[in-house]
Each structure stands twice: as structure tokens, then as C-alpha cells.
């Protein structure tokens, strides 16, 4: 037996309106928890983008001139290989540099169109045996001014501190959002149980006249889903604001040049949005399924 869409919408709207205060509290809790959860991912993306070149223990980068000679290049390689203080190094050629550039500026194709691999400098990403800041600085200085070397950039202690603090903040965001998601699930459950109890007589009549269990359940399940989707929409708006005014703000400030690349790409934002919508649906399914199976079919 098919359930009429008009009936389902009317019943769902009545259920939501009947418990408007609890409904509002549920939607706000879902929205805040999903916003925290999504915010955790956006910050992780942004920090990852800003510090991508410093991943894997890389402590300094030797940038070569784009028009350097093979001999200059070979001299640097020999120095890197022969130094006992260097644990590992990786060479990023001009094509590799162009790929990184494209990733970093994926949102601005007009900028990518003005750049070609030939004008980008190749680089050596160096992992020292001892990551101590003084040792790294001293080691990096050995490469400055060598023939073919354009510049040497070392991972500042600030970057390491940002990575460390971002991890800690991320964990707090994550734990907080998981706790709030649990609370949101319980609120959905409570809201539906409350709706079931306030419609006890109606449900009794429905059962007596022969309504199927699914016919009775569906409006309650849609109610849970509606709350979750409204909450996810609120969270999406909050994440958009976070990206627009906070994360992008870091990138637009000249004094925070250290955080160049602290941004979230469109695809990362879309992924995060879809993820919070998926979590909202999951939370509503769990909350409403427990409610209808424990309190409706009994």
C-alpha cells in the first residue's frame, strides 16, 4: 500500500509543529554538532594545504633557479648525499611543481592559465637526521648562496607549532562534535517518542482500522529526517561563513604570509558538505528507527 505524499507531508508538519520547542532544540543541536564536525574537517584541510610542503619530516626546501644548469643541480645532489646530517631528500621537478601549483590554486583557473612548468623552480625537500631548530637552520644555511640555488626556506618553529596546535584543536572539535551528535540522536529519539505518545489514541485507531506498521512509522521517520536535514542546512550555512570569513581571512592577510595556502578548495568544501548531510541522515535514521521500533510497535 502506497502512502500518499500529501498525507505524509501533512502528518510530518503536524508532528514537527506539535513539539515546536523540542523540534527547535533538536535542529539547533544537530546544526551545531554538524558545524563543529564539518569545521574540524575544514580546518584540517586548510592546515594540510598550508603545510603540505612540510609534511613527512621535511624541515627545509632548497629552491633552485628555473634556468639552472645540470652541473649546478648535480653539485647540490652530491652535497645532500654526502652529508651525514641529512637523513633523506626528495626532488620535485618543474612538472611536479606545476602539479602542486594547480592543486593549490584549483579555485582560480585563470591564475593557472598564466603559469607554465618552465617558469616554476624545481626544489629539494630535505629531511634532516636531527629536527632540532638550530641544527636545521645551520644545515639550511650551508646551501644558501650556492651556484644555482635561488633560496632556502626552512620550516619555521611557528609552522610546527601550528601543526601541533591544529591537531589538538581538531581533537577537541572532533570529540565535542561526536558528543553533540550523540545528544542530537537522543533528542531526535525523544522528539519522536513524544510525538508518538501525544498521538497515542490516533495510533490506536490506525491499528484497529488496519493501517500497516510502515504506514504508521513513515511520518515519524520523515519527521526525524526533516529535523536532521534542517540541522544540516544550518550547519552548511555556518561552514560557508567559517570558510568565507575566517579561513579565507587568514589567506587574505599579508601579515600571516606564513600561512600562505591556508584555504579550503571548492571540492574539499563540497566533500565536507556531503559528509555532514550523510551524517545527518545517519543520525536521523538511528534516532527514529530506535524510537519507532521500541515505542510504536510495542
Amino acid at each position: 500500500m502506497a502512502i500518499s505524499p500529501v498525507y505524509a507531508i501533512r502528518e510530518t508538519a503536524q508532528n514537527l509543529w506539535r513539539n515546536i520547542l523540542l523540534t527547535s532544540a533538536t535542529i539547533i543541536t544537530i546544526g551545531v554538532s554538524l558545524w563543529l564536525f564539518g569545521g574540524f574537517f575544514l580546518f584540517n584541510y586548510a592546515v594540510g594545504n598550508a603545510t603540505a610542503r612540510w609534511e613527512g619530516g621535511i624541515e627545509f626546501v632548497v629552491w633552485m633557479n628555473a634556468d639552472g644548469t645540470p652541473e649546478q643541480d648535480a653539485a647540490i645532489r652530491t652535497a645532500l648525499d654526502e652529508s651525514p646530517e641529512i637523513k633523506d631528500w626528495d626532488y620535485v621537478d618543474q612538472d611536479g611543481a606545476f602539479e602542486e601549483f594547480k592543486d593549490l590554486f584549483a579555485d582560480t583557473p585563470e591564475l593557472i592559465a598564466t603559469v607554465s612548468p618552465e617558469i616554476l623552480p624545481p626544489s629539494y625537500r630535505v629531511v634532516p637526521a636531527d629536527p632540532d631548530a638550530d641544527v636545521v637552520r645551520e644545515l639550511a644555511d650551508q646551501f644558501k648562496g650556492r651556484p644555482g640555488v635561488r633560496s632556502v626556506v626552512s620550516a619555521d618553529e611557528t609552522i610546527r607549532a601550528i601543526q601541533k596546535q591544529a591537531d589538538k584543536i581538531g581533537i577537541v572539535f572532533f570529540i565535542g562534535s561526536v558528543i553533540l551528535l550523540g545528544a542530537a540522536t537522543l533528542l531526535i529519539l525523544t522528539n519522536i517518542v513524544s510525538a508518538i505518545k501525544s498521538r497515542g489514541e490516533e495510533i490506536e485507531i490506525m491499528k484497529v482500522v488496519g493501517a500497516t506498521n510502515w504506514f504508521i512509522r513513515i511520518p515519524f521517520m520523515i519527521e526525524g529526517l526533516a529535523q536532521a536535514v534542517f540541522g544540516a542546512l544550518g550547519a552548511w550555512g555556518g561552514l560557508w561563513a567559517l570558510d568565507k570569513w575566517v579561513i579565507s581571512g587568514f589567506n587574505d592577510t599579508d601579515s600571516l604570509a606564513l600561512l600562505d595556502g591556508f584555504k579550503v578548495s571548492d571540492s574539499e568544501f563540497t566533500q565536507t558538505s556531503l559528509m555532514i548531510l550523510g551524517i545527518a541522515v545517519l543520525v536521523s535514521v538511528i534516532g527514529s528507527a530506535v524510537a519507532v521500533t521500541r515505542y510504536l510497535d510495542a
Binding site: 489514541e201 485507531i205 491499528k207 482500522v209 500497516t212 506498521n213
Partner: protein, 225 residues
Amino acid sequence: MIKLENVTKVYKGDVVALRDATVDIAKGEFVFLVGASGSGKSTFIRLLNREEVPESGTIYMAGKDIGALGSWKVPYLRRNIGYIFQDFKLLRKKTVYENVAFALEVIGKPRHVVRKQVPAILELVGLSSKIENFPDQLSGGEQQRVSIARAFVNRPLILLADEPTGNLDPQTSVGIMRLLDRINRTGTTVVMATHDRGIVDTMRRRVIELDGGSIVRDQARGVYE
């Protein structure tokens, strides 16, 4: 139409509500269930509607063992059974029309069927002029007529009534019984639990008397005692 074979129902605490009951009710019969409070009348009705399941014995409806039905099939069984409550159980925020239409909407009847059947049944029960009224604007007798309309709007084969005149005065009760009699004459089997001696003695239909969960009397054209 309805057949009980050695049916026993026991509630928690070893309370025997129905003991080894065997009854055969033909299609189109009108049967009164009589007996003191706690004698098993309501349990008898609830067993027929599959709200309860017997501990032992078998209940057949139109030849089918309803105890063997899967839970998902029970709603389809109930579409063939109308149920009238003593306290009417009308939805206060719905009009007369909406209360009756609700019984059809929740079993998925199309809107054009609802629009056709609801006014027809409200005319049958004599409430055509009150379709926009809310239950609180009706007398007790009128509310019970709405309840009967809701139970009968889907034209069930069986009508179960659990003390339908229990909350009504004698004069109003007579009107309700006339209505049930009229429905019975359309071929619908009616099983009615009652304490109302006057009604049973006046109508002289089949009487099944229960005492302590046992059937102690089954009399055609019977009286209350």
C-alpha cells in the same frame, strides 16, 4: 464466519481470561456476549481482532487461522473487521467527516473513494447535517454514531462492539441498537459485548454468556439471564 476451537487465554499472574472456549458464529449472525465484569467478554473481542493471541486453541475467520497470520498480515485482517469502542475514541481535533475519512485514508484508499464513501455512511447513520462538527459539539449518541460510521465505512464483514451503549442513556441506546441492527441486515456479522439487559431482552438474538472465562450458556434468540 468465526470459529473458536478450545481457545484459552491466560494473562500474567495466571489470570485465565478465557477458558477452553469453542464457538461457531455464522455469517450475518448477531451475537450478544454477556456476563459480569471480568468474565472474559472484552478478551473474547480482542482475540477476534488479533489484539491478543491465545495460549492454546485456534481461531478461524472466514476459514483462516488468524493465530498463524504473520504480524504484517494482521492489518489486512483488521480491514475486514469494524471495531466500536465504549468510549467512542473520536479524534477531538478532527471533524465528523475527517474522523470517518481517517479510517479510509490510513489504509490507503484514494481520495475519490473517500469523497464518495464518507458522505454515504454519514447519511446511513443520520449525521449528514453534522459533517463539519467536532466531537465536542455532538451528543454522546451522535458521537457513537460517528464511531459506528468509522467502523463500517470500509464495509467490513464483521463488526465488533465492546459495550457500545455503556456510556449512553437508554433512549439513545435504542437508537444505536437500531443502527447496528440495520447494519446486521446488510449481511454483516455483529458480535457485541454488553451489560445492557434491556437491549438483549428486547432484541432476542443469540446470547453467549461468559463466567470466569468459561462459556456457560450459548442460546439462540436468548435473553440476558
